[in-house]
């Protein structure tokens, strides 16, 4: 469980929150800290895009969709899988989803 401002928030075995409505920017900061990540403006851009996309499609975007969007928002040189791994060393899909309060992508990925 995450503890935030006296409230407890349930998560699964790997730290993905169970109730997606429990998410807040403060919680994202806390999850990132647990993952030893400092949230920069670039991290927030990715997190926001993930949340917007999820809102529309009920799934995290494909890696290619994400890199394209990041390239548009942060500059072409940053629109690559490599850059996303620099931001989120445990993988843009999995680690960024955890911080963004989205379910983990499953299957052969």
């Amino acid at each position: 469980m995450y503890e935030l401002n006296g409230k407890t928030i349930n998560h699964d075995e790997e730290g993905y929150i169970v109730n997606l409505d429990d998410w807040s920017e403060e919680l994202a900061d806390k999850i990132a800290k647990d993952e030893e990540l400092d949230m920069t403006e670039e991290h927030w851009e990715v997190v926001k895009f993930l949340r917007d996309y999820y809102q529309e499609y009920q799934i995290a975007p494909a890696v290619r969709v994400l890199t394209k969007a990041v390239g548009k928002r942060l500059g072409q040189d940053k629109g690559s899988n490599k850059y996303l791994y620099e931001l989120f060393p445990y993988g843009p899909a999995k680690q960024a989803c955890k911080i963004a309060g989205l379910p983990k992508p499953t299957g052969c990925v």
Partner: protein, 499 residues
Amino acid sequence: MDTFATPKLTSDPEMATPPPLSPNAMAGCQSFVAQPAHNEPLGFPGELVDDWQAVAVAKMGELLERYQSLRVFLDICVKCGACADKCHFFLGTGDPNNMPVARQDLLRSVYRYYFTATGKALGGLAGARPLDEDVLKEWYTYFHQCSQCRRCSVFCPYGIDTAEISMAAREIMDTIGMGQKYCNEVLTKVHKVGNNLGLPEPALANTLEGLEEDLVDDTGVEVKFPLDVEGAEVLLITPSADFFAEPHVDGLIGYAKVFHQAGISWTLSSHASEAGNFGMFIGSSEQMHTIANRIRQAALDLGVKRLVFGECGHAWRVAYSFLNTLAGPWDFLDPRYPVPQHVAEISLDLVNRGAITLDKDANADMTVTLHDSCNVARASRLGDRPGGQFTIPRALIRASVPRFIDMHPDTICDKTFCCGGGGGLLTDELMELRVKGAKPRMEALKQVIDEDQVTHMVAMCAICKSQFTKVLPYYDYPMEMVVSLHQLVSRAIRLGGSP
């Protein structure tokens, strides 16, 4: 975050020296147990049932009746030891329970206790033991440390198939409510959304539109990624990872370019937007049947003439070996083509007939080797000749790149090592197992990197691609080193104009 050390590579490509024994080294490496939300939609009990021993023994009895092979495999082992040092998980961890014979014995001992006269009379003296909580824990741990790759069965003089034993064990555990979260969550998503990823139809359509835009930008050619097009000639069934992950999507782009350039009309299906069939991993023929019949339904609904599979190892095993039994007859398809076909055999045939042209110079910066995927190598065939599953991918690679190098002969073709993530183990809580299980493949890869300056390793299975993307960096190799087979084709194919 990792609490284990990556094994050191020792330049022992054929893994000739077995590791020192390290009893229980992997006893603590456990995948998460499935919750009621993952079990109940599949018809399994939500959690461990009260009378689980009796239910498990009854299920074992049922499986022994149903699969004569299971009884034979449990009866005929003579403990010769030929398999002992053939499992990548034993070679990578040294845990003796990861020797195939020891893994089999976890189930065999219980079989003897309840189903053989000597076991009933002599108990432990006959290698028999009752099913208790400790045994169940061992089952859960070590039957989820088997990737069902069947390498051991190649070396077993009796051909005992440990994969089949591990499938039976998992089926028994599902029956008592002790399933594995990773597999059962994925299976639940297939039924609910249509694919392992949980990618809904609008997201799939959006992703495919994005790819079409990218290809116009990159090539100037309007290569299409059709979805749910009635009357298309080919229905392409591919793993949902091809829509989502790298380098998988580069393979999908390759298939699309091949179909485009050859003028073959094709479509994907939102109803069957997944080639994978995790029903096999958990040994459930009912699940395999239901999942395979999504493909039949899609083929009927769309009125296609041919069925083609993308790059997915275990899907190809299910498709090539079992599809007719599970979802046939396929007499409504065009009888001039085999059912199913693999995209690699189609591409190579088109190259050989001059219907598409590959320009090797496009890949002049690469020296390539091939990781044979276990389910393609040992459980199926490609094309119409024995060994086609080895020769066809190699011929397609040679047509796409100037320089191809095979890894050590004891680690390729039917002796290929598993990537370390197959059979329902591609889940992060098993990372220690996955990294250590990849060691044998990494040893062979290191040799061709050091001696032949290999730059890339081709895989033709979604699990292999994801697994290597994850574990290569543990061994100080870049994740981009693993590429899709059709990624090479994609870079080499000449689009537009005359072929």
